[in-house]
Symmetry: C2
Subunit: 275 residues, 2 copies
């Protein structure tokens, strides 16, 4: 991969990287589109990164469909797909981790111990393998974006982190590979996330600034949904992910019993909710 | 720095990096010489890295003499010196660390908590700032070499780690910037490190393979020195830094009271001790 990438660089071409775990949807393709607009060469990586999943998470059943993914990427005009194996990425004896503290600690970091260390480590490795000029991430994973930006700055990586808006279904549900886990009932219930953020944005637009009140708007709407259990729903600063702030961030499990699907979403309350 | 380095790379030149903390001696200059033999361009970095010093260590009084260092490097034929400030390397809010477990845990890692995390982090940053083809380290810091090699492999850094032999005084004392701390009496006592390793290498050459016996040879000689207090003296595997193995590794404090100087050294017992 690095050889190809360095050949392109020697030819003076700008290189964009779109890191993915596959199971591609229109959100990923919007990253590819944006990357194509600002780079001569666009490379997508597909790697379901085991070290960013907790022991009780969905690594094994995470959706994988390489053929369909490759087909989508080809049609989107990608120049190369980097698809390392787990054995290549984490051979026996490998023991180095990139750890970001601060922004990586609360919310997703607290709910998923080790998750952001896994993300920071693999992104570092992908950057080393591709040496891109720019890398594309979705705003959907807002805290991941903040962690990757922090890491990139701290480690002097010469990679520009580009963030693309969340792509949503007509009813507001953010696209996610994990939406595939939802039954029809659960899919209907999942609208509570976008709905809660819409209500909070309306409250903000009407002048509400009290953190506890904005938070209450989120919780009230989410708790009204019988199939939803709230992991967190906060309004935080978009750089530190600590309260107070104006970024609504949610993690909500949809479903009953063992087969719940955990969804995350976020919205900048200073802007109207789209749609 | 990166701009200059990428210009050289675009011109097809191979780039060698010699990372140092300054206070240069003939050991550093041997790294520069080796780098010049195998690279078109040689860059030395000078940075006394605060995060690899413990709170009770010698960061503040570590010897610094930029003019003399720059002069030595110029005369050694260096092409550029990279000398970032602490503020540039660790601006307020920076919070990312590269952590290597396993090889970084015992011996120096146990004696100096956080030391190798500081080393791994700064080496990663220096690699990002210079993008060298090769980087040069002294065998004197054997465990550091093992940690940097592990990190480089694990993070897919496209940098070849080159290790140069320890440079020694006539009596066997390994060159170290910290030798400057030694009083004449302490300097005389410091020969116990090389002397202990010489005896262990002789024992090994005579057929001694029992780990406990080889270790005893080291300890007996070190403990015979009144000004020495042994931190560790072990015979370990040179990749894992766990016993058993054939690499003698020592950390010995020389002196009395608060102003002790901690020296480290190592020797591969399968080879005769030089000199």
């Amino acid at each position: 991969m690095l050889e190809a990438s360095r050949r392109w660089r020697r030819d003076g071409l700008g290189i964009g990287l779109v890191p993915t775990m596959g199971a591609l949807h229109a959100g990923h393709l919007s990253l590819v589109d944006d990357a194509r607009r600002h780079n001569d060469v666009v490379i997508a990586s597909i790697f379901v990164n085991p070290i960013q999943f907790g022991p009780n998470e969905d690594f094994a059943r995470y959706p994988r469909d390489l053929e369909s993914d490759a087909d989508l990427l080809r049609r989107a005009g990608i120049d190369a797909i980097y698809r390392p194996s787990v054995e290549v990425m984490y051979p026996p004896g490998s023991s180095t981790r990139v750890h970001v503290s601060g922004v990586a600690d609360p919310l997703e970091g607290a709910a998923r111990p080790g998750h952001f260390e896994g993300v920071a480590t693999v992104v570092n490795k992908l950057f080393a393998a591709v040496e891109p000029d720019r890398a594309y991430f979705g705003q959907k994973d807002a805290q991941q974006v903040a962690v990757v930006k922090r890491m990139t700055r701290d480690l002097d990586s010469p990679v520009e982190i580009c963030v693309c808006p969340t792509v949503r279904e007509a009813d507001g549900l953010a696209l996610s590979s994990r939406n595939a886990y939802l039954s029809p009932d659960e899919r209907a219930a999942a609208v509570c996330l976008s709905s809660a953020m819409r209500l909070a944005a309306e409250a903000y637009a009407s002048g509400e600034r009290r953190p506890a009140e904005l938070r209450k708007v989120l919780w009230d709407r989410l708790q009204a949904e019988a199939l939803a259990s709230v992991d967190y729903a906060e309004v935080v600063d978009p750089e530190t992910f600590r309260s107070p702030g104006s970024l609504a961030v949610l993690a909500v499990s949809i479903g009953k019993g063992a087969k719940k699907t955990r969804l995350i979403d976020n919205h900048d309350l200073t802007r109207p909710f789209p749609g």
